[in-house]
Symmetry: C2
Subunit: 768 residues, 2 copies
């Protein structure tokens, strides 16, 4: 599902504090793959050569055509067909593969006897007009016209029949609602119109219902992914006027997965919250339900009807809003001056949802490792789509399957991973990471004990630009692998291009700090900033979430992005991919090679191929980002908030950095020497390395959302998608809660110290 439109450009590369940089994470010798002893590197390279010869565009294209033949929403017959297809392909290539079913609460658009299937949206005032809830077909694209596809629909939404005046509230962030209120306009008992972008759509619904809105329409503004970005489908890759962004309105940053089984797996006959056919959970608010569950109904799940609409549908509403001009930043790309309302536009919205416990099908495949220590690495990708899902997720399914085929070829030639290699084809990701969350909750002990790392792939290809999100300990593995894959279109390695892109961004955005000493008569001290590339911190919106945030397993999320405006619409289909996304499927093949190589290295390395230097640097930068946030708040209201225990925190981070440096060097030295005779040392080392990330978990979880336990990475509570590094501390700063801040800094110091202790143990083991 993962996509978010940032309303404002943001450089994700942490830029660090100039003048305080130390040099971490030197790249390992290019001929010596991370974690491999020299002798195993030789056979590994031979196997890799065989695997990398496999991926080829036509094969991927054929698989993509098969996967995207029908809309395949989670739990549907078409979805089941893709599960069987994936399972059988994996088996054919030598993997052990099986379905892993879960019974989860899912809604479809009102297939209930007393409701129509289609939602309906009518403009009642000042003119009457029926507004479209389906896309307009393009004659040259057979998939663009399919009445068996979903109409406008928000998964995990509620049924409703509401009429009201409309208020426009930009992206629907808390700040947007506050800006509307400052204009003297209330959204109470109104129907809110907001545009997609910025924060996860479920949080738009949450923000609207908290303020008393009776319904919400979420439209795609052409400024964000339509004509203002470039040519629109079918002439170009961007969103045409009729395209609708379906999607889930789960309150994702409060917790993903089946909402009827929070924190526990959705097993047949397992324990489950009382649920409801029309609204997921009973409405209107019943104190009974709240008493039974201990949950606040309206903090937990949507209570007001919501509908995604196109800009074709939004235009007649927006053109009939009076009231003040919108606040700065809220004007979109439609050709009119936007107004806040309320009214005169009045709409009538009917949404119908049918909730049932439905079966979903993960496919879990494996190649057992030669080490019998039970540890495993995983490649994961979801398979369900709101419609055809050529980009999201089937480009990922096609590319990761091609990687599995490549690994299968190596396997047939005798290659074996050291640790078990798993492949997961998740279901119901679109509803809220349901398949992966239920599986991970089901296998939580195994994940905690044995899960080493994960390559997550959601959409693999929507364009040519490699995007990396991930936990910093996987950075060097990625860089090393990327240096070995060439993009045929550019004849450059993926690393060259990625580094150049990161560097360019850094060059444009790095803070320039001048030496003030010259104004006191001192000679100028040179303070040149230093470039240190990092992956984007993980937030949420894809299946790594449960593994990282709940269970403390490192993950990286790897995709090729580009000019892509048809996200979650009927036009995200095979035609689009062939025309715009990757016409010759060369990016897919490149992605498949990259995925295969990451998986083979991660599973095949003698020593788990983490480096912790980049992690120490990242934590330092995250701390500095939060210091800046406090400083900015102080500037804004002329107060003097302090960062509590900063010296202690800095000491903990420095200790972590020192340990990391020692450990990285010790492993490099260890693997340069011949492999030790006994496997015990390496086994112990690997067990310890696997534990590092777990140490960042706090048993109590993050403030107000205990399921999230990672103290370094989590999605923003108010963003849903985008990362809030050091989330507990960040939240306390956002809430201006000094007591909470103090406590959260304490927790953070404790977890960093704990991780540093494990780093030390690992280094000791490596040097023994």
């Amino acid at each position: 599902m993962r996509q978010y439109l940032l309303p404002v450009g943001r450089a994700f590369v942490s830029l660090g504090i100039l003048g305080t940089l130390t040099s971490f994470g030197q790249e390992p010798h290019p001929i010596h793959p991370l974690g491999f002893f020299t002798e195993s590197a030789v056979s590994e390279r031979a196997a890799e050569g065989q695997a990398l010869a496999v991926p080829e565009p036509l094969s991927i294209k054929t698989v993509l055509r098969t996967l995207t033949e029908e809309p395949h929403i989670a739990g549907s017959g078409a979805d089941y067909k893709t599960a069987i297809f994936v399972r059988d392909k994996l088996r054919e290539w030598g993997w052990t593969a099986d379905l892993a079913e879960y019974e989860v609460l899912l809604d479809y658009p009102g297939q209930h006897i007393s409701y129509p299937v289609e939602p309906s949206l009518e403009l009642l005032q000042p003119i009457t007009k029926t507004l479209p809830v389906r896309e307009t077909a393009n004659a040259f694209d057979k998939d663009s016209a399919n009445l068996h596809s979903l109409p406008a629909f928000h998964g995990y939404g509620v049924s409703g029949d509401v009429t009201g005046q409309v208020v426009y509230a930009n992206y629907g962030t808390i700040e947007d609602f506050e800006a509307v209120e400052e204009l003297g306009v209330s959204v109470k008992d109104k129907i809110v119109l907001v545009r997609y972008g910025g924060l996860f759509r479920g949080l738009k619904v949450y923000n609207a219902q908290k303020r008393g809105a009776k319904g919400i329409l979420i439209y795609s503004d052409p400024a964000d992914d339509g004509f203002a970005k470039g040519d629109v489908y079918p002439s170009g890759p961007y969103r045409p006027e009729s395209a609708i962004q379906r999607g889930s309105v789960l309150f994702l940053s409060h917790g993903p997965g089946d909402p009827s089984t929070p924190g526990t797996p959705s097993l047949k006959n397992g324990k489950r919250l009382p649920h409801d056919t029309f609204n997921g959970f009973p409405l209107p608010h019943t104190t009974d339900w709240e008493k039974q569950t201990g949950l606040k109904r309206d903090e937990y799940f949507a209570t007001i009807p919501s509908l995604p609409i196109s800009y074709e549908a939004a235009l007649p509403i927006l053109s009939n809003l009076a009231g003040p001009n919108v606040p700065s930043g809220a004007q979109g790309g439609l050709p009119l001056s936007y107004h806040v309302g309320p009214g005169p536009a009045e709409v009538h919205l009917v949404t119908t949802h049918n909730y049932e416990i439905r079966t979903i099908w993960n496919v879990i495949a494996r190649i057992d490792g030669t080490d019998d220590d039970g540890r495993w690495v995983m490649v994961g990708n979801h398979r369900d789509a709101w419609a055809y899902g050529a980009v999201d997720p089937d480009s990922g399914t096609a590319a990761t399957l091609e990687a599995c085929r490549a690994i299968g070829a190596a396997l047939k030639s005798g290659w074996k991973p050291k640790r078990t290699l798993m492949y997961a084809s998740w279901d119901a990701e679109e509803y809220g990471l349901v398949g992966s969350t239920e599986w991970a909750e089901h296998h939580a002990d195994d994940v905690r004990e044995n899960g080493v790392m994960m390559l997550n792939v959601d959409s693999a290809v929507s364009g040519p630009t490699l995007d990396l999100d991930g936990v910093p300990s996987m950075r060097d593995l990625l860089l090393q692998v990327m240096a070995e894959i060439v993009n045929p279109h550019t004849s450059k390695t993926l690393k060259e291009t990625w580094i150049a892109g990161q560097k360019h961004r850094w060059q444009s955005h790095a803070a320039i700090e001048l030496d003030g000493g010259v104004w006191n008569g001192k000679p100028e001290a040179v303070r040149a900033p230093v470039f240190f590339p990092q992956m984007t911190p993980l937030g949420s919106g894809s299946d790594y979430t449960t593994f990282v945030d709940h269970l403390g397993m490192p993950a990286v999320d790897v995709q090729f992005g580009g000019r892509y405006g048809v996200y979650h619409s009927l036009f995200d289909n095979f035609y689009w991919m062939e025309k715009f996304g990757d016409p010759d499927f060369v990016i897919h093949a490149t992605a498949a090679k990259l995925y295969a190589l990451i998986a083979m290295r991660a599973a095949g390395a003698d020593v788990v191929p983490f480096t912790f230097g980049p992690y120490g640097k990242a934590i330092q930068d995250h701390v500095d980002d939060l210091r800046s946030l406090i400083a900015r708040k102080n500037l804004a209201d002329e107060s003097k908030r302090e960062f509590p225990r900063l010296a202690d925190l800095a000491a903990a981070v420095r200790e972590f950095q020192a340990r990391a440096e020692t450990l990285d060097a010790a492993i490099a030295k260890l693997t340069e020497a011949p492999a030790p005779e006994s496997a015990d040392q390496i086994k112990a080392l690997n067990a310890t390395l696997t534990r590092v990330e777990r140490e960042f978990l706090t048993r109590d979880g993050l403030p107000g959302r205990p399921w999230f336990q990672h103290t370094i990475y989590a999605p923003g509570l108010t963003t849903g998608y985008a990362s809030w590094p050091l989330p507990g501390v960040r939240q306390a700063i956002e809430d201006d809660d000094a007591k909470l801040l103090d406590a959260q800094v304490g927790v953070l110091i404790e977890r960093i110290n704990a991780a540093a202790t494990v780093l030390k143990k690992a280094a000791d083991t490596a040097r023994n």
Copy 2:
């Protein structure tokens, strides 16, 4: 004429280098007006009370209605009528007032026998369509329909009849043209379409003709001042689809004034460049003309036809451009995906200009000072308009005239200024600051010898927000006066509101600098940034230019701005002002009071009311801005440019700052004591204070534009409007010319040292 739309938000307040701030320019005691001895302050305050009782909205409204009754372009009969009106009013109020005529080269739209009057613009391909060159009238606004008004027209443009494919080049900056070229599209022999905004329109023409374009259309995009900003006329204050921004296409940053008399006044029978009826100066390029004049024709003046058009006219062109999607940042607000072209849109453009030597009429009024030392201060405002000019400039004329009426009342009660107070009503400002430049060149010796300071007013009111541009030595005078004027709408003083606005901006944009020491185990050093409000540095676009940049006389430019999108169109008229700009004329009355008080204080103070602390701070910040520019360039291309002689420059600035502090304190002390018996000391002090700004002039002028002589302030060579502080140094950095940079830093140090020497002399005089 002054307006520019910044495509990207920019904080003008120099933020300084954190941690190196020292405290300058403490506000003087509020009851003790700057520069007044206690005893004169008493009588001054009484006179000010009488003056401030005068301005009232209805009187201003009546004058504005008179001034805006007809379009009054420079040199026209209507313009002459306004000159007489202004002269007679000033005489009525006790001023000595006379016309000061100049004979200048001006063009009107083709009133020549063989050419039609109207320009014409036709779309020829892929469809034919005649595009509008006039505004569409609004039935409720009589002034919106006037065939005697100018059609679409660019003053100082050339006649032409060209047909060609169109290429779209965003704002027409150098970078925009480069971005187009990077897409493989050439503008050679094409007609360029660019939008208004960013840089002065004449430089758009310059950039286009330099690249071989055969014509240029400049349109107003709704993203910049149309519907994307708010409701459009007649429903709101922003630019409607038919509105056309007329204006001059002189190469303003190369030099203002009558282009046929560069550097010399346009007197009857004076020396003049050979000129031409159709094109200002002969075309096609004649080596004769270049030999005669020593000028490069195409570096000096437009050579290709240009026309301003509305977005109504631009839309059919833009919708028929193919080629690549535009580069990032070039998409405007029209509802389509913008393309670069070339074509298929092909247009036929005919422009006709008729050049003649025409008479223009400045009105120069004065009230002689009681000191017979010849020194004077000036209030200046232009009077000519492209059409009705209710905002630009007649809000300024009406408000400054009301200030003159108020001063007249004080005069009648016996008040006299110490130094002579002049009022200038400039003509032909719109063509390129012609009236003011010719007058100043005519009276250059007097300006240099006796000109103390100037209050420039262009548009006075387009909304409620006070904007200040100015030389920093006038900051404290302004702040003090602003503290005494209350805006009746807000019941707050102008100072309170302005400071709050500046502070808010600073709070959002000030660079946060963290102490990196904590990462080396040191205790955290607090580095809180310090707020130091400054006026925006002066660029160009209004009549202060010649006084400041050519002759070294301090100036401040003061206006009230707001939601204003009808600049230089037929809709900048009385109806607009009454509906949107200042319906009750209270802002005009507030402006009139502010102007009167500035003038009375500037003319009345015993000691010229400059303070130099803010100037020292500003220069330091300007140096730091250029250091940042170099650092950013180094970051971008990984080179190691240095700021030559930075230590010497810093030492010069620090010396200036120290002298300034001493002087400011000495004057404060002097004026707190009783006035000295002999006037000689004060006379000498005032003479010296008047000289300070002159010291910033360099005889050789700025690189490539010798007419500009000020080493601290000038318009950007490539911006036209926006300021380039330390322009010689800035230009060398922009051009990456190390040798020039070295030389310009040398010049700058020399001028700062010279100014500091004068500060010392003044302080010595003050302390004697």
